[in-house]
C-alpha cells in the first residue's frame, strides 16, 4: 500500500476514526490489528515471519534482563542476534554471498559443474528497518540502558506500528515504548499538524521526486546523452532521492502524529551540510545514529589504544555496513566505502581546513563547503544508483567527454522541476538560516498559514504525478 495512493488515505481515515472512537485502553490492541492488516496487504504470509520475530525477541529481551550473570546475558543476546541477522541474511544477502563464493571458487578451480544454490524468495518489505530496530532493543537491554518490555502487545506495537513499518524511521525503544504507557486522547492539534506534515511529504514525493523521475527515465532510456544532460540528471538525482525518502518520512511522521505518536526525525536539511561528517548527522539519521551507537562507538572505543587508526578502522566497518544495509550489491558497498574515505580525509585534514576557514570570510567558506559537500554526495550517488561499476563509469565518462546538445522534453517539464526543487530548498534554507523573518508555513497569522497550505495542496494537485511511483527506499 503506497503512502501516496487513495487506498492508503481511505485506510488512514477509517483506522483513525476507529482509533479515536475506542476507549483508550483498547487502542494498543487496535493499532496492532490495523498494522497487521496493513502488512497483510503487502504479503499475508510475511505476517507469520514478523509474528515469529516479535514473539522470539520479546522472550529473549526478558531473558537478557533476567539473567544474573554477564555470560548468561551474552548468551541470550547472541541467540537474538543469530535469529535476527540470520533472517536478514537469508532473505536479503544469501544469493549475493553464494554468488560471490562460487565466483571465488571458480577463480581457483578450472571447471565447476555444480550450480550455486540460489534462493527464490522475495525480500519482506521493511525487514532491514525492523530487524535493526529489534537488534538495538536487545543490545540496550544488555547494556542496561532500558528495561525489557513486559507487555507483548506494547512490544508488538513497537515493531509493527504501520507508519514506520516499511521504510522507517528505525525507531529506538527508549523513545517509542514510553509513548505507549501514556493515555492518548483526541487532540485536534495532532490531526492538523500531522496533516500538514503529510501535505509536505506528498509535495516532496509527487511534485519533486516523481517529476524528476520522469526526466531521469527519459534521459537514461537513450544511449549517448550529452555531458551537460548527464550532469544535470545526476544533480537532479540527489534532489530526487532526498525528496523521495524525506517525503516518505514526512508522511510516516505525519501519520504517526495523527495517532498521537512522535517518531524520530530522519532528516535535518542534509543538502545544506558543510562536510560529509555533517551530512551523515543530517541524512537518514535513524540509520546513521544506529550505526554510530552499535557499531562505530563500540569498535572505535574498544581499539582506542590505536589512536586515529581506531577511528579509521571503525569508519570503514561502519560505512561498509551502511552501504550493504541498502542492498546485496557491490555498488552499495562501494558507496559506503566512498563515504568512509571522505570521513577519514576530513579527520586527517581537520586542522588544515580550520586554518583555511580562518583566512576566508565565514559566509564564503560556508557556501563553498556546502557546494563541495553537495557535489561529493552527488558523485557518490552515481555509484549508488548504478547496478554495475561499468554503468557508473559510463555516466562519469559521459559527463566529462561527451559534448552535445542538452536534452529537453519541453519547457513545462523544466518549469515544474525548477519550481519543485526551488520550493523544497527555499523551505530548507529558511529553516536552516532564518534569512527572512516572514514565513508562509509557520506564520503566526492563522489565515496566512492555512492559505499557504491550501496553495501547497492545490499545487500538488496541479503538478503532482499520480501514477503510483514506487518509493526508492522501499527496495531496502
Amino acid at each position: 500500500m503506497l503512502f501516496t495512493s487513495i487506498v492508503y488515505f481511505l485506510f488512514l481515515g477509517s483506522s483513525l476514526l476507529g482509533y479515536y472512537l475506542l476507549p483508550s485502553k483498547y487502542r494498543v490492541y487496535y493499532i496492532i490489528i490495523v498494522s497487521a492488516l496493513f502488512y497483510m496487504y503487502v504479503k499475508p504470509s510475511y505476517l507469520l515471519l514478523i509474528a515469529f520475530i516479535i514473539i522470539s525477541n520479546y522472550a529473549l529481551g526478558i531473558q537478557i534482563e533476567k539473567s544474573s550473570y554477564r555470560h548468561q546475558k551474552s548468551r541470550f543476546l547472541s541467540i537474538s542476534l543469530l535469529i535476527n541477522l540470520g533472517i536478514l541474511i537469508f532473505f536479503k544477502y544469501w544469493n549475493f554471498i553464494i554468488e560471490n563464493v562460487f565466483q571465488l571458487i571458480g577463480l581457483f578451480s578450472a571447471k565447476s559443474t555444480t550450480s550455486p544454490p540460489f534462493l527464490d524468495v522475495i525480500l519482506p518489505i521493511g525487514l532491514s528497518y525492523y530487524i535493526f530496530q529489534i537488534i538495538s532493543y536487545n543490545i540496550d537491554i544488555y547494556r542496561g540502558t532500558i528495561k525489557a518490555e513486559k507487555n507483548i502487545f506494547h512490544f508488538g506495537t513497537f515493531v509493527l506500528f504501520f507508519p514506520k513499518l516499511l521504510v522507517g524511521p528505525i525507531e529506538r525503544a527508549n523513545l517509542f515504548l514510553p509513548q505507549l504507557k501514556k493515555s492518548i486522547s483526541f487532540d485536534k492539534e495532532n490531526i492538523i499538524e500531522g496533516g500538514k506534515r503529510i501535505a509536505w511529504g506528498l509535495f516532496k514525493k509527487l511534485v519533486v521526486a516523481d517529476r524528476i523521475s520522469i526526466f531521469q527515465t527519459a534521459v537514461f532510456a537513450q544511449q549517448g546523452q550529452s555531458g551537460s544532460t548527464l550532469f544535470f540528471a545526476t544533480i537532479l538525482y540527489t534532489f530526487q532521492v532526498y525528496a523521495d525518502f524525506s517525503g516518505y518520512t514526512d508522511i510516516a511522521l505525519g501519520t504517526a502524529r495523527m495517532f498521537g505518536f512522535n517518531l524520530m526525525e530522519n532528516f535535518k536539511r542534509p543538502l545544506l551540510a558543510i562536510n560529509m561528517s555533517d551530512f551523515w548527522r543530517r541524512w537518514h539519521i535513524s540509520l546513521s545514529s544506529w550505526v554510530n551507537d552499535y557499531i562505530f562507538n563500540p569498535l572505535a572505543l574498544n581499539h582506542r589504544q590505536w589512536g586515529k587508526w581506531a577511528v579509521f578502522y571503525a569508519l570503514i566497518i561502519s560505512f561498509t555496513v551502511i552501504g550493504i544495509w541498502h542492498g546485496a550489491s557491490w555498488n552499495y558497498i562501494l558507496f559506503g566505502l566512498l563515504q568512509a574515505i571522505a570521513l577519514i580525509y576530513e579527520t586527517i585534514t581537520k586542522r588544515i581546513r580550520k586554518k583555511i576557514s580562518k583566512k576566508m570570510r565565514r559566509v564564503i567558506y560556508h557556501n563553498i563547503s556546502i557546494l563541495f559537500t553537495f557535489l561529493f554526495v552527488t558523485f557518490s550517488l552515481i555509484i549508488f544508483r548504478s547496478t554495475t561499476f561499468v554503468e557508473a563509469m559510463n555516466i562519469i565518462d559521459g559527463i566529462f567527454s561527451n559534448p552535445g546538445s542538452f536534452y529537453s522534453d519541453g519547457v513545462s517539464t523544466f518549469l515544474f522541476l525548477i519550481i519543485g526543487c526551488g520550493i523544497m530548498m527555499i523551505y530548507d534554507i529558511q529553516e536552516e538560516f532564518k534569512i527572512c523573518s516572514f514565513s508562509f508555513f509557520s506564520n503566526k497569522n492563522w489565515v496566512i498559514q492555512q492559505a499557504s497550505y491550501a496553495v501547497l495542496i492545490i499545487y500538488i494537485l496541479i503538478a503532482g504525478v499520480f501514477d503510483g511511483g514506487q518509493f526508492i527506499y522501499f527496495a531496502f
Partner: protein, 84 residues
C-alpha cells in the same frame, strides 16, 4: 577529588583536544551541547582522560556515559578503586 574539581580537569582536557578556549562544561553537557565534540574526537578525549588519571574504562562503562556528569562519576569511581 571533588566533582567540581573533576569537571574542571575534564574541561581542560576538552579545551586541549578540541582547541576551543570557550568550552564550558557542566554535569549535564552532552555531545550535542559542544560544537566540536563529535564521535570522532570523542575517542581522543577518552584516551586523554584515561592518560591524565592513569585509569582504564571498560567498554560497557564508556558506552553508558550519556553526559559529562556520567563521565565524571566514572572517573571518580575509578579513582576511588585505585585508592583502596
Amino acid at each position: 577529588m571533588t566533582s567540581d574539581q573533576s569537571i574542571k580537569d575534564i574541561t581542560k582536557i576538552f579545551i586541549g583536544i578540541l582547541e576551543d578556549d570557550s568550552i564550558v562544561l557542566n554535569k549535564h553537557s552532552t555531545i550535542n551541547d559542544v560544537d566540536a565534540w563529535d564521535s570522532l574526537n570523542h575517542i581522543q578525549i577518552i584516551t586523554a582522560i584515561e592518560k591524565y588519571y592513569k585509569i582504564r574504562f571498560e567498554l560497557n562503562e564508556l558506552l553508558n556515559f550519556k553526559n559529562v556528569g556520567d563521565l565524571c562519576d566514572g572517573v571518580q569511581k575509578k579513582m576511588e578503586m585505585k585508592n583502596i
